[in-house]
């Protein structure tokens, strides 16, 4: 079955430190890949997406993600975390020709002073 796995339920990072959130997918072919962020009590906002081409994609709010086919991964990174980045982050995927996204269970990011 197709699935998206986010191995870390919670991550705590010091403000100013770098961040990497992990995402692995299990699909027959390379899917379209997405990262979303959800602030408390809000809907989800799209950070970035990958569908082909350059394996390093840039997104909003200073985030980037790297697609690695050999590892079936699409990890989200940020060089320097700000307190306002504290939120829940969701990785998602879908196959070409399909409408529905499959979401990971999310990673809660906590930012310490």
């Amino acid at each position: 079955a197709q699935s998206v796995t986010q191995p870390d339920i919670h991550i705590t990072v010091s403000e100013g430190a770098s961040l990497e959130l992990r995402c692995n997918y299990s699909y027959g072919a390379t899917p379209y890949l997405f990262w979303y962020v959800q602030s408390p009590g809000q809907g989800l906002q799209l950070l970035l997406k990958y569908f082909s081409g350059d394996t390093l994609v840039q997104g909003i709010k200073g985030f980037e993600a790297e697609f690695k086919r050999s590892q079936s991964s699409f990890n989200l990174r940020k060089p320097s975390v700000h307190w306002s980045d504290a939120a829940e982050y969701f990785c998602a995927a879908k196959n070409s020709g399909y409408s529905t996204l499959t979401f990971g269970k999310g990673t809660m990011l906590l930012v310490s002073p």
Binding site: F34, G43, S99, G106
Partner: protein
Amino acid sequence: DVKVTQSSRYLVKRTGEKVFLECVQDMDHENMFWYRQDPGLGLRLIYFSYDVKMKEKGDIPEGYSVSREKKERFSLILESASTNQTSMYLCASSFGTGNYGYTFGSGTRLTVV
């Protein structure tokens, strides 16, 4: 900006009531989706619609129905609300089947007492 508007941010309903959650999008998207979000379970797809009057069951359709009479509006109906339907409900919309992500509404937090 694409907007997806959910009619209520917070709702409190009694067990057995019929509940309507409304969602409207303003960007002529073909697809619309209803998810529920619960701690530790992530986002689970209830129903989606790829065209007016068309609907498909998602992963957890039991106890829910939907209506899409106009392209911009997608309603989720709880026929007889139960306490286990207390949750955050998220509506989303998207274009077709390409590499398009979803645009989410801000969510409705429903409490059934």
